[in-house]
Symmetry: C2
Subunit: 223 residues, 2 copies
């Protein structure tokens, strides 16, 4: 009786470095640019890990992509900015797509898309480049928003740090589809299947004076 | 004209250690157990950061809480298990609650609840304790599910690693509420307010033969 967990599918592409090679479930890996970009573009959030005095730190921050870089922003005078421009970071993007409910406990899982990348962040300091990237960021979150809001002035831009890291050393890992129960468990009398999950937007809560203005075209879901 | 970003609110509780003291927006911090537990209990996912040969790694995994510990599981023979029991980890739980859309670009933000903790994972090896914790995990994801599924056998349990880390050295950080535009920006003619976001469940996709079985009582949202 063959075990459906033992997949014969192969990864897409080849790892860009030894440390990006997916070892657990290698058949779920993809290393091509298109796979990495699709996951980063769907995300609002990443987790950035860095090392200070030998201790790991893992900080959530908003992110977006331009070309071959993942961007984040923070306040200029912060630990995050100092740490990320001074050493290797690991950046992880994780999208949860569903609960995978199997007949057997062990075969429960989640459907997901994730990217893990390694690199050193670069500090983007040119004011025009910063203004353009912050506009791209705003439009990534809400399409068309950059043109409508009060743009950052020179002082606000100067206080903002814009950091970017290359997507060159990245891996993607994706689980999709139904649970994979053992043949001997298929008759177990419990509901099995997938329950989709997604980050969905709800009814907007306007500020006083905004109820009559056009609503922002926020996507129904970020996924 | 006072700047509403300069809040005079204070953190709840005191940091359990120097490295857990929130420095950016300290008024958003909470260090009491109740605040930390509420955020961990609402989460399906955490990001675990660890250091190997000086390089940070950030790996997403499912998580749950029992008492004063956060638990994760993996396959026994994995890098993750070896790394986490051999050094300090940083574990981060991040829940995205909404987009904060301000009149000015700079005042855009997100509403969120997050926990960052430091500690060394402990390997829970007692088979009875492991079986009980995996049942708690199943019930965290879908209430009542542990009693319905085919339970793990001894070999399956032995191949599973159950790791836990204390919640003692944790901080919580929460942003909630509307955008905080400068008074001079309040008349800018663009919609401002909050667009709620939440991880919502969709219509279940049953496996063949499961359509007539009782649906799992998956929460409408994990939040
Ligand atoms: C939403 C979600 C929930 C998950 N829940 C669990 C869980 O509960 N238990 C569990 O064991 N695993 C879980 N995983 C998978 C987990 O992220 C790791 O892939 C797995 O634990 C193996 O980790 P490792 O460090 O031992 O991997 P290895 O395969 O040894 O890692 C080697 C390299 O592969 C790459 N890589 C590893 N994981 C990923 C990834 N997720 N995405 C992209 N590249 C990657 C990195 O470059 C890494 O350095 C989950 C993943 C996601 C996205
Ligand atoms: C969904 C989400 C999106 C975010 N987006 C951004 C963004 O785009 N830009 C940005 O600058 N910041 C963002 N933040 C805040 C970010 O997580 C950090 O709090 C902030 O960047 C300061 O980081 P630091 O390392 O400089 O903090 P410091 O305040 O110097 O960190 C000191 C200690 O405080 C604790 N701590 C720090 N951050 C958190 C946290 N989030 N939760 C719990 N404890 C914490 C940790 O113990 C840390 O070691 C976001 C947070 C969340 C949850
Ligand atoms: C008794 C219950 C469970 C046991 C014994 C168990 C065991 C395991 C083991 C051994 C692995 C590692 C697989 C590998 O990398 O080769 C694993 C991975 C995983 N488990 Fe579980 N698990 C249980 C329940 C759950 C539940 C309830 C969920 C979530 C709904 C879950 C989600 C996952 C995910 C997402 C992975 C990662 C798979 C991947 O690498 O792509 N598990 N589990
Ligand atoms: C031109 C546009 C923007 C500029 C110049 C800007 C600038 C900044 C700066 C300087 C900080 C650090 C604040 C501090 O820690 O004191 C910050 C934090 C943050 N920004 Fe932005 N930002 C912009 C747009 C956005 C957008 C579009 C979003 C997301 C919708 C966003 C989300 C956040 C979040 C979540 C934080 C963290 C706040 C906290 O620490 O609690 N920003 N931003």
């Amino acid at each position: 009786m063959s075990d459906p967990l033992e997949s014969s599918a192969a990864a897409t592409g080849t790892p860009p470095s030894a440390r990006t090679k997916v070892r657990r479930h290698p058949e779920r890996a993809a290393y091509d640019r298109a796979a990495v970009v699709a996951i980063v573009d769907a995300a609002l959030l990443c987790h950035v890990a860095f090392v200070l005095d030998g201790v790991p730190h893992c900080i959530p921050t908003a992110c977006w992509r331009e070309g071959d870089h993942l961007y984040i922003h923070s306040v200029r005078a912060s630990r995050l900015v100092a740490a990320l421009t001074g050493g290797t970071a690991c950046v992880t993007v994780s999208l949860v797509d569903g609960l995978v409910l199997a007949r057997s406990a062990l075969r429960h899982s989640m459907n997901y898309r994730s990217v893990v990348l390694y690199g050193t962040f670069e500090d983007v300091t040119d004011p025009a480049a910063k203004a353009a990237s912050m506009a791209t960021f705003l439009d990534h979150v809400v399409p068309g928003r950059a043109a409508l809001v009060r743009p950052p002035d020179a002082k606000e831009l100067a206080g903002t740090a814009l950091l970017r890291v290359s997507l060159a050393e990245a891996s993607a890992k994706v689980r999709s589809g139904p649970p994979k129960d053992l043949l001997g468990d298929l008759a177990w009398p419990v509901w099995a299947g997938v329950v989709p999950l997604a980050l969905e937007s709800g009814a907007p809560l306007p500020e006083p004076g905004c109820a009559a203005l056009p609503l922002p075209p926020v996507p129904a879901r970020y996924a």
